[in-house]
């Protein structure tokens, strides 16, 4: 179910402004890769190029290649809609569909794809909610609106919604930044379980979180405000945090940044 991501020479633009410059990296299947770096360094932008969400922003444009196994996501014949069905995404702020029940939220992706049998649907919903460690908390109120849950539960609901369509890759854009420490812990545990099945990429501002959940860590930085963000280095998480090969990484991690 999980695929390898191979990025080469990727730059992203907002209109004429270059947001990230010439990024190349490989993300292994069934692993967690964390993106860290100061605000504005383009890590979220880069994440959004991996499921072609970047180009939804007015003026958004991408150059370079993103290979999912062997297929370039930016080939002219590739449909961005089908890319987003293969590469799921979880956002910074929990965004369940406010008008839908918990059940319908999880089922939404399957209903979009249209390829399900009616009796399968409730199985998939249960499996996804169990997969997101939310089943026991919501099984008695599946028909209540998803917006009535707590922030942490809503975020797990969004994860359940994303994994219900069995994506190859799961992108997470600061999934815990709006959550309290207990909910954060629940999500981190969940990430540990999900990496058995999915390739996971997570953007985080929380260094400890990167150290706790990820196998590999990529550090992004920018030379100055207005300059494009660059990938400084990517390596085993232990090495990045113990003995990075670039001075800037060590400065950032140890708080001596800027």
């Amino acid at each position: 179910m999980a695929k390898r991501i191979d990025v080469s020479g990727l730059s992203a633009f907002y209109g004429t402004h270059k947001a990230i410059d010439d990024i190349s990296m490989t993300v292994e299947p069934r692993s967690v890769t964390a993106f860290i770096g100061p605000s504005g360094c383009g890590k979220s932008t880069f994440l959004r190029t991996l499921n072609r969400m970047h180009e939804v922003t007015p003026g958004g444009r991408v150059e370079g290649k993103v290979l999912l196994d062997d297929e370039n996501l930016y080939d002219s014949h590739v449909d961005p809609v089908s890319v987003r069905r293969t590469v799921g995404m979880v956002f910074q702020r929990p965004n369940p569909f406010p008008t839908m029940s918990i059940y319908d939220n999880v089922a939404a992706g399957l209903r979009l794809n249209g390829s399900y049998k009616k009796n399968e649907l409730s199985d998939v919903v249960e499996k996804s909610l169990r997969g997101a460690n939310l089943w026991n908390e919501v099984k008695d109120r599946l028909n209540k609106p998803g917006s009535g849950l707590s922030g942490g539960q809503q975020q797990r609901l969004c994860i359940a919604r994303a994994i219900a369509v069995e994506p190859q890759v799961l992108l997470m854009d600061e999934p815990c930044s709006a959550l309290d420490p207990i909910s954060t812990l629940a999500i981190e545990d969940l990430i540990g379980e999900l990496k058995e099945r999915f390739t996971i990429v997570i953007v985080t501002h929380n260094m400890q979180q990167a150290a706790r959940v990820s196998d590999r860590t990529a550090f992004f930085n920018l030379a100055a405000v207005g300059q494009p963000g660059k990938l400084i280095e990517i390596d085993e998480t232990e090495r990045i945090f113990a003995n990075p090969s670039v001075q800037a990484t060590e400065d950032y991690i140890s708080g001596r940044f800027g």
Binding site: R84, P96, P98, S147
Partner: protein
């Protein structure tokens, strides 16, 4: 910060509690509270006096009516005995407004979605402007346009509907004549309420939070599916309010209806036959020449329109409130 200075010769007993001071108030707050409360009360007073006036005059008329106010197909308050009833007016008002809503709401939602989500920015703002401009056209102009343009040009559509949908009876045209009928009025009203429904819906659609739309996009939704999953559910109550604003205008529209329709109190369920009438049109047509009692009778019909509008608004509020927890307002 105030300090209480105890004179040295006071007894050593515990000092009396300082007198309770009123919370400090600022004149700006007082004035503004007075103004806003005053406006609220003024509105209630105006509404109550309108209702009282209408009810009082209507009561005089209805008590002097020798026919049944609700079922009589005639309007002759000056006759002997005086006979008048609102059946034809109620039917005409409701039917022409329903036709207007059926045509205008889907078109308006379509235009609003096009402006908010499909059109390139260069096209969206001019288009929005043109739609708003439609609202600035006075209703007498719509009436003249309707009478001189719509009526002759809808003749063809009328015969077509008569030939192919005549078996439904409502589209059966039983007489030959110009299309000065409720169907034409409905179409004209649809055009007139289009701008208000469109611009309110457009504003609501533009307010859909980015993150709701991205949620759908990230699941692999196409543009239409994004609209179905996040834009329409979020905008639902706004579209209902917009439609009610439009319906309010359609129910009360006077000049345009009076110019296009050739009124009569012969009841006919056939939409394409000339005749019928609406509350507002009937009042405008007869008020000048009516005697005191005739005016009271017209006011009685106005009271029914007033109540009808209240009921419509109440129903809309009920629809919005019923699924409030799903409305997105608590997200």
């Amino acid at each position: 910060m105030t300090t209480t200075v105890i004179p040295p010769d006071s007894p050593p007993s515990p000092p009396p509690p300082p007198p309770a001071k009123a919370t400090p108030t600022r004149p700006g707050d007082k004035i503004f509270r007075g103004l806003s409360r005053g406006s609220g009360i003024l509105l209630l007073v105006v509404m109550a006096s309108i209702a009282a006036f209408l009810t009082f005059r209507a009561a005089i008329a209805i008590s002097g009516n020798e026919g049944n106010f609700f079922t009589t197909f005639d309007w002759d308050p000056a006759g002997n005995p005086p006979v008048f009833g609102i059946a034809v007016l109620l039917y005409g008002t409701v039917v022409s407004s329903v036709i207007a809503m059926v045509i205008a709401v889907p078109v308006a939602v379509g235009i609003a979605l096009f402006i908010s989500h499909y059109a390139p920015r260069r096209l969206a703002s001019p288009l929005a402007y043109v739609v708003d401009l439609l609202a600035a056209v006075p209703s007498i102009i719509y009436g003249i346009w309707g009478a001189l343009f719509l009526v002759p040009y809808l003749g063809g559509l009328n015969s077509w509907l008569d030939s192919y949908l005549g078996w439904t009876l409502i589209f059966d045209k039983t007489e030959i004549g110009p299309a000065r009928n409720l169907f034409t009025v409905g179409i004209l009203l649809a055009i007139m309420i289009l701008p208000i429904v469109t611009s309110v819906s457009r504003e609501v659609f533009l307010q859909v939070p980015k993150m709701n739309e991205e949620a759908a996009l990230a699941l692999g939704a196409t543009r239409w599916e994004v609209i179905r999953l996040s834009v329409l559910p979020f905008g639902r109550s706004g579209v209902i309010s917009a439609s009610m604003l439009g319906l309010g205008r359609a129910l009360g529209e006077t000049m345009a209806v009076a110019t296009v329709l050739s009124p009569s109190f012969l009841f006919s369920g056939h939409l394409l036959d000339a005749g019928g009438g609406t509350f507002a049109q009937n009042i405008a047509a007869k008020f000048d020449e009516a005697n005191e009692f005739g005016r009271d009778a017209l006011i009685a019909s106005g009271l029914v329109l007033f109540v009808l509008t209240l009921l419509v608004n109440g129903a809309a509020r009920l629809i919005i409130a019923r699924r409030k927890e799903y409305s997105g307002a608590n997200a």
